[in-house]
């Protein structure tokens, strides 16, 4: 009889310990989102019709459970400048699932349409947890945002860019050298020697 009582007590203790562990783990569960703190800015001036590689987005799961993330362009607040159309920005992945404390790097490409207006463009890249709606209550989410910005030069300014002008200089220099050689009467001649 004493042996049975001891067994029951042990089982009860194990169940109680397991329940406490589960409750404790549930209480500590959290979701977290991190993003690289460096803003996504294009160093050079973009031109309409151009395609540019922006700095990649670093996504970090700072939570204690695996989470799915959505990456998108969304303007937060009212930064100065034109709004960045979401269709100009392409992420190699718009969703990513990460385990606790894991990270992913997502390359970003900016494609400026040919008819784009010149000026400064500003927006944000937002990474947020994605959780399916439950049957009641409020789903809580975590997100992180980086600045996104670039400037588009006036279309006519590209015609007078340094690269175009440098070609003109080279052509003028080559013509001048040819003219000088002809003027000095210089001749290069390769002769075969007779034996």
């Amino acid at each position: 009889m004493k042996r049975i009582q001891a067994c029951v007590a042990l089982v009860a203790l194990a169940v109680g310990f397991g329940t406490a562990l589960t409750v404790s783990a549930g209480a500590q569960a959290n979701i977290g989102t991190g993003i690289g703190a460096n803003p996504l800015l294009l160093a050079s001036r973009a031109v309409p019709g151009g395609r540019y590689l922006l700095p990649s987005v670093l996504v970090v799961n700072t939570g204690s459970q695996a989470s799915s993330y959505i990456v998108r362009v969304k303007r937060l607040g009212q930064p100065k400048g034109r709004d960045v159309p979401a269709s100009w920005i392409r992420f190699t992945r718009t969703t990513v699932r990460l385990g606790p404390h894991k990270r992913a790097v997502i390359p970003v490409v900016l494609t400026v349409p040919k008819g784009a207006a010149g000026g400064v463009y500003r927006s944000n890249v937002v990474v947020s947890t994605y959780t399916r709606r439950r049957g009641g209550g409020a789903v809580l989410g975590a997100a992180a945002a980086d600045e996104l910005g670039f400037a588009i030069g006036h279309p006519s300014s590209s015609l007078w860019s340094w690269a175009w002008f440098s070609y003109l200089l080279l052509a003028v220099a080559a013509t001048s050298v040819a003219f000088l050689i002809r003027r000095l009467g210089l001749r290069f001649r390769i002769e075969r020697q007779r034996r």
Partner: protein, 234 residues
């Protein structure tokens, strides 16, 4: 000068009488040019020879990790409960303008290791049949009014959702201690974690209590409704 067995390159300059003479200076320049070309050729040959018998050198480089702006939220979801006013009963919101709260321990919001502005936004309350949503209203001032004065009393298909630091209901005679931050669909500064609305310090943490006051009446008859609250580190 001889450039290949049997071949000679000659640099000449035409004289006024039509005859031509070799210029010593130009010959020297041409020899120098040929020597440079030979050196380039030798370098290329040496390079191709070494390519056939490669010697490897492993180069490694460590960089500091990029700073990360982040926010964590615990728990991952809440159920509004202890509803009062109107026809409310237990954890079920009643009409008109029933109110529910989030019991302790509330929601813990923690800024990560880098200073960041913490923003927060709410969303529509969506019925289980995906019918007519309840939209958020922001008290007695702002673009989406809950009422024209006094306590917020959301109109048909509106609701008032807030955060505060001490819990309790957000309207009526049982209202908890303010200040209350009214949520909107667009992200705005979380003045509960940082009343000054500046950047939160690394590791800064706050317990926040969401609460709601429901509409005067609902077009949709669903009994299960869902919304979301998202905190953003910016």
């Amino acid at each position: 000068m001889q450039i290949w067995p049997g071949y000679t390159m000659r640099l000449t300059r035409a004289n006024a009488d039509g005859s031509s003479t070799s210029s010593q200076g130009f010959v020297v320049a041409a020899r120098l040019g040929l020597a440079a070309a030979a050196l380039v050729l030798l370098g290329a040959v040496a390079g191709s020879a070494s390519a056939g018998n490669p010697a490897g050198l492993n180069v490694t480089l460590s960089t500091v990790s990029q700073a990360v702006k982040s926010v964590t939220v615990s728990p991952t979801g809440i159920n509004y409960s202890q509803c009062v006013y109107g026809t409310s009963s237990g954890n079920s919101l009643g009409f008109p303008n029933g109110a529910c709260l989030t019991p302790s321990p509330g929601v813990t919001v923690t800024n990560g290791n880098t200073p960041a502005a913490i923003l927060v936004n709410g969303a529509d309350m969506v019925p289980s049949d995906n019918g007519t949503h309840w939209t958020l209203c922001q008290g007695t001032s702002g673009p989406a009014l809950c009422s024209t004065g006094g306590q917020p009393t959301p109109f048909v298909d509106q609701y008032y959702e807030t955060l505060n630091a001490s819990g309790g209901y957000n309207t009526g005679p049982q209202q908890g201690a303010g200040p209350f931050l009214a949520l909107a669909n667009s992200a705005a500064c979380d003045s509960i974690i940082n009343p000054g609305c500046g950047q939160s310090m690394p590791g800064q943490q706050k317990t926040e209590f969401p609460a709601i006051t429901g509409p005067s009446s609902s077009t949709d008859a669903s009994t299960a409704w869902t919304t979301s609250i998202v905190w953003t580190a910016s």
